[in-house]
């Protein structure tokens, strides 16, 4: 879907699509050329893109792809679909806290370690943000806010451990 969305901007060669995909969405996992052409082939078969004439010149990438009306409407539909709001009420953090309490281990000790690990990851993302470009910064921020949400839960849970322990042991 990302490729189709990129193609909506203007007719493009597979190479341009791959380059822009890697720049915006790749994040250290560049898209293999084979996958680009396989995807474009599938989109063409389904009538979402048209393959232009083979252009003169050297190199394998002499075809331009153009999005169809059906392709545009597919992008439109996809962009209107909200992503499933996460998370679900089942988290390994919670399971660890409860099991620590049930077994008489230190849940606070576990939460301290988890906090330190979260903060370490936040430091890495902050460093990425300070050295990278706008795309890196936006993605890093997404990660940072999610980690921050976990940390707020960790703080609140740490403050409620006594009550939680009473309940678990009852």
């Amino acid at each position: 879907m990302a490729l189709l969305g990129l193609l909506e901007r203007e007719p493009s060669h597979g190479y341009d699509l791959k380059r822009d995909y890697d720049a915006y969405f790749g994040r250290g996992k560049p898209l293999p050329f084979g996958q680009v052409y396989a995807t474009l082939g599938r989109l063409a078969r389904d009538g979402k893109v048209l393959v232009g004439e083979t252009e003169p010149g050297a190199g394998p990438d002499r075809k331009r792809y153009v999005i169809t009306k059906q392709g545009v409407s597919e992008v439109e539909t996809w962009l209107r679909e909200p992503v499933e709001p996460e998370p679900h009420l089942q988290t390994v953090l919670f399971v660890k806290v409860v099991l620590a309490l049930m077994s008489g281990r230190s849940a606070e000790g576990y939460l301290d370690l988890q906090r330190a690990a979260h903060l370490q990851r936040m430091r890495e993302l902050t460093a990425l943000k300070r050295t990278g470009g706008m795309v890196d910064a936006l993605l890093a921020d997404h990660g940072l806010f999610h980690l921050e949400a976990d940390l707020r839960w960790i703080e609140l849970t740490a403050a409620r451990l006594d009550a939680l322990a009473d309940m678990v042991r009852a």
Partner: protein, 240 residues
Amino acid sequence: MNAETVRAHPDAPGALIEARDVGLSFGPTPALRGASVAVQAGEILAVMGPSGSGKSTLLHCLAGILTPDTGEILLAGRRLDTMRENARSALRRDRFGFVFQFGQLVGELSAVENVALPLLLSGTPRAEALARARSWFDRLDLDGTQTRRCGELSGGQAQRVALARALVARPEVLFADEPTGALDSLTGEHVMNLLVSCAREQGTTVILVTHEPRVAAYADREIIVRDGTVTSFAAAPLLP
């Protein structure tokens, strides 16, 4: 005395600034109970922990503003807590910088006069102090505010002016207590970026109190203050 001479002090092989087993009570309320922390020269340390746990009190002890009841504060290996008050205040003026959450700027003075204040207080000639102060406005994206009175600045502008004032005299140690507390996320991020870049450039050691993880993530490491003591995360077994 400049930063290099202090860091090369023969009695300070390790930490630049250190609290050893510090206790302090306000009347019957114990704010610190045996808090220990060692901060390396050039390090940026975040101090986190619940409200009322003793973070600000610890910061004030490390900065020589409060005197602990028990324990020791060491600066480059020298006792800070037993120094006479006038020696300590000279040291705060010449070697420390401070940024706090509110009410630190002199509202009646212009922004540039506020930034120049630490230089003026330590005897720099007025023209030179103002020139050095002015050089901060561009890098802090504060152009055009130089002559405004500080009472008229927005929260984010005031906080950047406060940061410039804290750093203008090139302190060895910057103490910051919730420096982004009153700011929105983007402005807070701007202030933190500047704080970290300036500190790294000047080799300033930073002790930063914050309850915001995204602010703490700018530091090299964090300590957690809880009930007046510093928690460390040695990989101890979870079973008692």
